[in-house]
Amino acid sequence: MQKNSLTLDVFCLKSKKMTLFDKIWNKHVVHAIEGGPSVFYIDRHFIHEVTSPQAFDGLRKRGIPVARPDKTVATADHNVPTVDQHLPIRETLSRMQVEKLTENCAAFGVELYGLGHPFQGIVHVIGPELGITQPGMTIVCGDSHTSTHGAFGTIAFGIGTSEVEMVLATQCLLQSKPKQMRINVDGVLQPGVTSKDIILYIISKISASGATGYFVEYAGSAIRNLSMEARMTICNMSIEMGARGGLIAPDETTFNYLKGRKFAPQGTDWDAKVAEWRTLVTDTDAQFDQELHLVAEDIQPMVTYGTNPGMGIPVTGLIPEESSLEEKERLSFRKSLEYMGLQQGAAIKGQKIDYVFIGSCTNSRIEDLRQVAAFVQGKQKANDVEVWIVPGSKQVEEQAKAEGLRTIFEQAGFQLRQPGCSACLGMNEDKIPAGKYCISTSNRNFEGRQGQGARTLLASPLTAAAAAVTGVVTDIRDF
């Protein structure tokens, strides 16, 4: 009897179809605790100034070093200013936090791309652009948008500071395996519809908590046809539907993007790695706990009207009526519209905008900036609108200048600033004033996210650029 069940186990193990997630997960389990989580090995750990100081202090208290400084990279992004970065940071607490990071990295031997460094930038922009992020890896950072790196076929997720300390101390985390969901988007995107619209559409369908407890694989022809930067935008917002992370199987697009990047494998190593990366696909007939199928042609340019990213509608749509919601959802809905100063049943198109923010780990890469520049070339921003373009990294900033994008932005009345997280969360001086409306390419429209009382409408870079020109929420397809 026992022998039979053993044979059956081995048989199941051999024939078990695996998802991309399973393949990466299994390879990184160091030790499984009975009735508990697994000890999970981390290949790359990104750190920044806000969620790391208490973790470094923890190491000091324990009297232990960083286990693998060679697998740890730091940058300053969350509260750096986006103007005059060559000067000392004016805001005392921000300056102290950035100085603390410099001090900690020096003391523990961690590589730091700090202010002034040519590689400095938003942590989820620099990892990919430097080729640090590679298929098959496990990647963590004390930031929920670490899911961005999943675009390369990695298991990448955000962690808290206690977990940052765990990874610094041991290069491992205790993790329970999540459930898995596959979201398929098939078909061809309509003109004016971008990857940001895909993800806002998905979240509007399944809600801000619809993928909690899951890791998501994005698949289907519409995803396959996206560039790496567009894929990053989708994976970035996985957390906004509650998913710990999202990933996309690596393919030629991934390999072409990575080839020749600073920390990507070189020479014969490259060929060996690519051969290995090609095995990182979900087996045919592998089982998911949940699977969704969406049609690319159904997706319109999207805008959010409320205070969580699930509250999105097509730009031509109407804000829902309270009566269309379940009783228990109504209180939160009412509170949300009251905060936003918007009416149920109203059109979102035509809503007055005061600020435009194009930036954040969601949409601050060179393709985003090129898309905006191509649209605004020869146009002018509306008079009473302020437009900030904040590149995701020093390299993106330099490239934007070299390609002449800065000139186009300046002629349109847009400000091209210096890299950082900026008005996505307003930890630096880039805050939206109370009561003002900001159309933003960032990832969260929570109350007060962009400044106390600020009202955020999430949208794609193209939709944001169109609003910058007209001063109101606009359908990019009307141009």
Partner: protein, 193 residues
């Protein structure tokens, strides 16, 4: 380990960590003192402690206790552990909701703040009880993994993995555990990295 207390009803869905602790308070480099800024922008007008928002539940003296009860998807958004630090520092030992965001749940457990997930029906019972009587109580037994609505007597079982339960009850720390299996980690590195 038992947590028996009155509770504070926060009947709002999708309470995100930006509300629990706004980003401008994340500039501290220690873990202490976040409680005074818990739900800062829901508690005060104009960021002024002299102007409390009287309709916010934490400012209503009728409600007291070490347990916060919130509607579904509590702790969504940012991974900031400061949210768990702020709740703990304010004086909460447990948060009850019908649904927690994953990262928040881990952060809470790592700070000995117990997240208790209950059914929608159980949550309805808690709202109903406190509606009748602001002194209503909850009793949580970690060993037995049970939560009781003391008013109605309704008892529910909640999930917590055995490893974390052991940590909570004994005050163990994940890092001590990971350091204790360092040779396993080194063997893994030798074979795979």
């Amino acid at each position: 380990m038992k947590i028996n207390s009155r509770y504070i009803p926060l009947n709002i869905e999708n309470v995100d960590t930006d509300q629990i602790i706004p980003a401008r308070f994340l500039k501290a480099t220690s873990r202490d003192g976040f409680g005074k800024n818990l739900f800062r922008d829901w508690r005060y007008h104009n960021d002024d402690e002299g102007q409390p928002k009287t309709d916010f539940v934490l400012n209503n003296p009728a409600y007291q206790g070490k347990i916060l009860v919130a509607a579904k998807n509590f702790g969504c958004g940012s991974s900031r552990e400061h949210a768990a630090w702020a709740l703990k520092d304010y004086g909460f030992d447990a948060v009850v909701s019908s649904f927690f965001a994953d990262i928040f749940k881990n952060n809470a457990l790592n700070n000995f703040l117990l997240p208790v997930q209950v059914s929608d029906e159980f949550l309805e019972g808690l709202w109903a009880a406190i509606d009748q009587n602001p002194d209503a109580e909850i009793a949580i037994d970690v060993e037995q993994q049970t939560i009781t609505n003391v008013t109605s007597g309704e008892i529910a079982h909640f999930d917590i993995n055995a490893y974390k339960k052991n940590c909570l009850i004994n005050g163990y720390d994940d890092i001590d555990f990971l350091l204790s299996i360092r040779t396993d980690i080194e063997a893994y590195e030798a074979a795979h990295v």
